[in-house]
């Protein structure tokens, strides 16, 4: 639940029939190699089979389930105004995640060469961007819930909590969308550092994207910051 700051994710949640596929990412398609697209069409990921090597992280599961309930109660609170809900949700997200750590992670190798001032400014811009996208969800939310299905401890204090998205409006009969949360436990406190939808880890995708952008622009973190601010403005203007 830390980084759903991409409209992409919203659209994926909206898909009623199937899950996201690699074939969704072929925007420039024309009938040259028929099979190339044809088979891609049916490569929807099966989310039915989940192996369960380690199921011993109940506290992290409880943590995620409780916070899902908290988030849903904010979204479903009809007595609060939209502005109030946005503010509540922002506090909720900031308490759930370690936004500065995620921001530093997404800088990748460029974190080493960034000055402390640049890191701080980037973390601020990143947080504003993330919050803007979170808040853009409000108009899209239509009753979906998340149900914890299990967890795997990949290292001590580093757990993947698995959930499925239940959509009351989904009549497709397809398996529900899988959403995984990566939860760290430090000094007895849990914090969410990344989440994935259909196998896409979003902070990982952001790191790939930001690193590439910086590589194309002489490592200019101020330029990245200005782009993030512009995107945040666009999200706010649209919603």
């Amino acid at each position: 639940m830390n980084l759903p700051y991409r409209t992409m994710t919203i659209e994926m949640f909206e898909r009623k029939d199937e899950t996201m596929r690699s074939s969704d990412l072929t925007p420039g398609i024309l009938p040259l190699a028929r099979r190339a697209i044809l088979i891609l069409l049916v490569t929807f990921a099966s989310l039915a089979t989940v192996t369960t090597p380690v199921w011993a992280s109940a506290p992290a599961e409880v943590y995620v389930q409780n916070n899902v309930q908290t988030g849903l109660s904010i979204l479903n609170n009809h007595s609060a105004s939209t502005d109030q809900k946005r503010e509540q949700f922002e506090h909720f997200i900031l308490g759930l995640t370690d936004m500065k750590r995620i921001a530093n992670f997404t800088l990748g190798q460029y974190k080493r060469t960034a000055s402390p001032q640049e890191q701080e400014a980037f973390a601020q811009a990143f947080q504003s961007y993330a919050i803007a996208v979170y808040q853009s969800y409000f108009s899209k939310y239509s009753g979906q819930t998340l149900k914890v299905t299990g967890s795997q401890e990949r290292a001590p204090g580093d757990t993947i909590v698995q959930t499925v998205m239940l959509d009351p409006n989904d009549k497709s009969g397809q398996p529900p969308l899988e959403v995984d949360f990566r939860v760290l436990s430090e000094n007895g406190k849990f914090v969410v550092i990344d989440f994935s939808v259909s196998g896409i880890w979003l902070a990982l995708e952001e790191r790939d994207q930001f690193s590439s952008f910086l590589g194309q622009n002489n490592g200019s973190i101020p330029l990245l910051i200005s782009h993030l601010k512009e995107l945040a403005r666009n999200y706010k203007a649209e919603h």
Partner: protein
Amino acid sequence: MAGFCGRAIGVRAAAALLACWLGGCTTPTPEMLAANDPFEPTNRETLKLNSKIDKYFVIPTVAAYFFIVPDGGRRAIHNFLQNVSLPTVFVNDVLQGETERASQTLERFTINTTLGLGGFFDPATKKFHIPGHGEDFGQTLAVWGVGEGPYMVLPLIGPQPPRDAFGQVVDVFIDPTNYIHFKQHLWWEAGRYYFTLLDLRGQTYSTVQGIQRGSVDYYASLRSLYRQLRNNEIRNGRPETKNLPEF
């Protein structure tokens, strides 16, 4: 001998030209190599070309399709296209040793081809609750241990690393419909491809638009998403726990 030498020189020149096109006549930077994307400049240009074709040809065609064909019709076409591809999925299920999934594919094909009236309806999902899945030979190669190779964006097709591109070619030979010859076979092939294009792009319109609108670097975003989604497909949706970075 002279002819042989001439051909050899020609082949070398062609190879050099191909390498030049792929590499954009530039030396890969450490960042490109780190991203396993040595042809990045060319890939970026190809993505721009694909996006233009998409914008000016594909999307208007899809809009017409949505305008003319009602939702139920589009759903039936979607079901049919999926069903006709299931034999290829089945073979790849078997090649990957996924017996349970192979069984599901076989059941789906049998049910939807008969009760689903040639595949236009999907009772396998709706009535029998047998989940569908996709497979292709690129995934089979991955299960067999073949790496994807350098990232590539192909004109008109999109992200397609060498392993997956090769897999698509093999799938053509796996697909039994390609061995059924009849008079209008060319029209059948063209129609199948055309409607597949319309169906796929219609479904993904808002997703792709969202990625374009929300990206700092659209190209790098697509590259990351393609790889992550593809790996998820190869794992058959099993969660990734090993190859995650430290925060």
